[in-house]
Symmetry: C2
Subunit: 190 residues, 2 copies
């Protein structure tokens, strides 16, 4: 729970007493590589704060083709938010790519924390703001960028993920073939 | 300002006194068709709550090709949020497609309202949550859907916009040619 406090205090200072109030809303969970946190069709009870490990979130079409919406590593929050916030069945899958530890928070917990604590509502608003900006940037990138630009942007924004994620999935995330990605890799090393 | 109060009260009830505190943070502006609220390279001082009219937000690449990130009508909030929140120059353009009225809010105003009023922080968090879910959905749609599916989803989510926006721009938003869009239109009327 030390990591949780540090994570919150990166945004807003809280007292010991305030943190004692926050703690019980989170439950700790270990996740093994290849294990799913969410599968399409599930009821989405939790969102997850990642303490260690890496996940990928993807959409699977009717032909079994996988489309990666997002990767997430330490200190990222992750959920099929449409399902989580709107009480719908999951349309996305979240799978563990490296043994991981996460903290789980229910929507009821999130809303109670926000109502009871102005500081926690502030914390969640700031996190959402950053998430919103990242998604707006991803949309622009998907609409307009060349594979080369998308590759460079990914490397610039997420250098630590770049080294830990198999190339196959990076290619999928960028929407390019394995061959194109290999070419981009070797170009960038020249 | 009646519209503003109604818009806030769709999320959370506020007293007359609370509304009197909120009001001065917003400034009213009329916008003519074809007028820009933001152009690439601008400093982004405001986000906008649209009271009437329709806008489109787009990215322009080096070849002058336009990529539509979003349309927005009544009761939507709109800004180049990366620039607004992160104090960067705009990379997006926002242009008016129908004579409009908007309310303008600075980042300083937004943050002050949130710090001073737990209710307003709640209001902004809920709006961001909805916005975040909409962007996550748009990413999935861009990654995986066929033109037919994207067209149907757009019609289902935004029926009022569908009728007011020239087909040319809807085709651009969906990432299809004018010819494909015409075919989708006629198919859906059979």
């Amino acid at each position: 729970m030390d990591k949780l406090r540090k994570h919150i205090e990166a945004i807003i200072a809280i007292s010991d007493e305030e943190f004692e109030f926050v703690k019980p809303f989170f439950t700790y969970k270990r996740v093994k590589k290849h294990q799913y946190l969410t599968q399409e069709g599930d009821t989405v009870t939790f969102e997850y704060l990642i303490l260690s490990g890496v996940f990928r979130m993807f959409y699977l079409d009717n032909d079994g083709k996988e489309y990666i919406v997002q990767f997430a590593g330490e200190n990222w929050w992750m959920a099929d938010y449409q399902a989580y916030f709107k009480d719908k069945k999951a349309t996305l899958n979240i799978v563990c790519m490296e043994d991981a530890e996460v903290l789980c928070l229910t929507l009821h917990g999130r809303e109670t924390l926000s109502v009871e604590s102005h500081k926690m509502e502030h914390f969640f608003r700031v996190k959402l703001t950053n998430g919103y900006v990242a998604l707006q940037r991803r949309i622009i990138s998907l609409l307009s960028s060349s594979p080369q630009q998308r590759y460079e942007e990914f490397g610039r924004l997420y250098p630590h993920l770049m080294q830990r994620i198999p190339k196959k999935y990076i290619a999928e995330y960028l929407g390019v073939s394995r061959e194109t990605l290999s070419r981009l890799y070797s170009n960038s090393k020249v």
